[in-house]
């Protein structure tokens, strides 16, 4: 092999640069703070378990929309056997009253652009 040393050195530098974000955040624990979300005060349980909501709330909202708008169905039966009205404003935002302190914060943290739900759906008034 010609120039073996150079190739290996190049590979090492390349790997170092590519993995930089990972070990840099490992080394600087405080580099990115976990978002402090405003959680509902008088409710301990969401319509589905937290892990599911965190990973799949967007699919769930899409399905709720289709059920309500296209099939005229309004009641959701959760995996825990409870019934909820499928409504962003009347169910989700009854507990998560602040879009800014809940939705937006986590979306900013995950680098996901804020969705346009509220271009049409009326969010609860923020009591300043």
């Amino acid at each position: 092999m010609y120039d073996g040393g150079k190739i290996i050195a190049g590979l090492v530098i390349f790997l170092g640069v590519v993995t930089f974000p990972f070990w840099y955040t490992q080394a600087n624990e405080e580099a990115i703070e976990k978002p402090q979300l405003l959680l509902p005060a008088d409710e301990t349980e969401c319509v589905e378990p937290t892990a599911y909501m965190r990973a799949s709330h967007m699919q769930m909202l899409n399905e709720w929309r289709d059920f309500v708008v296209r099939e005229g169905q309004a009641t959701y039966l959760s995996s825990t056997g409870k019934m909820y009205e499928m409504s962003l404003t009347r169910t989700c935002m009854k507990c998560h009253t602040s879009r800014q302190e809940f939705c937006n914060k986590c979306h900013a943290y995950s680098g996901v652009s804020t969705p346009y739900c509220w271009d049409c759906h009326v969010e609860p008034k923020e009591s300043a």
């Binding site: 296209r70 271009d119 009326v122």
Partner: protein
């Protein structure tokens, strides 16, 4: 690199196998379908219809229009080209062109007619929508999905009654102060809207907002398929007409003059 005929066939085979497996994967994906519960309170019908007894209308009354505007966050852009309307008043000759003549009764000539989407049984708006943002529900209501509308306005061209409005601007600033109904969405620029026979209220067991608001008993809402329903009773007792029936749209809003 040269590929032998043999290895080419092998790869093609693997690809075909992959396609064969896809339905199985789809079936697994569907196993996660959500559960819904039926709503016992909802008002149901085979075919919803509205009867307007215009003889009972009070002069200058706009209660039904106001109730609808409130319920559905309809912006107030004035009587302009960009106006958004679900229910509005029309003169006799505009509401019923082709049947008007110069000697028609004075009362009818000057009577404003409340008009709205007719929830046609044979709706041309539905046929032309390229994305099925508007469609006919099983109970006959011609429904709009604001999420899906791409604002092409084919439906507006197709509707012979002018029942549909386009949002030329963001409607939010034009919703009068303190009138916002948080339970109903507003629309965005570029979306078409029209009367929905208050599907959101029917789902909760309530009559449409206009019917509820009218204190003169002008409006009767009910199921055409049920021979004992209020609408069938009214239609059976009084002579009624529809708007532009000659077009074959089969409107589901009836007028008693």
């Amino acid at each position: 690199m040269m590929k032998s005929r043999r290895s080419f066939l092998k790869i093609s085979g693997a690809c075909l196998l992959g396609l064969g497996v896809k339905p199985v994967l789809n079936a697994f994906a569907q196993a996660e379908r959500m559960e819904i519960a039926p709503n016992p309170n909802a008002l149901r019908a085979g075919r919803w219809a509205l009867v307007v007894d215009i003889t009972k209308c009070r002069d200058d009354c706009t209660d039904c229009i106001n109730a609808c505007n409130r319920a559905h966050n309809i912006p107030d852009l004035g009587r302009t080209k960009e106006e958004v309307k679900w229910i509005w008043n029309e003169s006799y000759e505009h509401a019923f062109p082709g049947v008007e003549h110069e000697f028609v009764e004075e009362r009818v000539k000057h009577q404003p007619f409340m008009v709205l989407c007719n929830h046609c049984d044979n709706p041309p708006c539905v046929r032309v929508c390229p994305v099925q943002a508007t469609w006919k529900r099983e109970d006959g209501i011609v429904m709009m999905d604001f999420h899906r509308c791409i604002g092409c306005r084919c439906c507006m061209a197709a509707c012979p009654y002018g029942s549909r409005s386009f949002n030329w601007t963001d409607p939010r600033p034009y919703i009068p102060e303190g009138r916002m109904n948080p339970d109903f969405p507003t629309r965005t620029k570029g979306v078409v809207e029209k009367c929905n026979f208050c599907v959101e209220r029917l789902a909760k067991g309530l009559q449409p907002a206009c019917v509820e608001s009218c204190s003169s008993g002008v409006l009767t809402f009910g199921d055409l398929d049920d021979p004992n329903s209020e609408v069938r009773k009214v239609l059976g007792e009084r002579y009624s007409i529809q708007r532009k029936p000659e077009l074959g749209t089969r409107p589901r809003v009836y007028y008693i003059l």
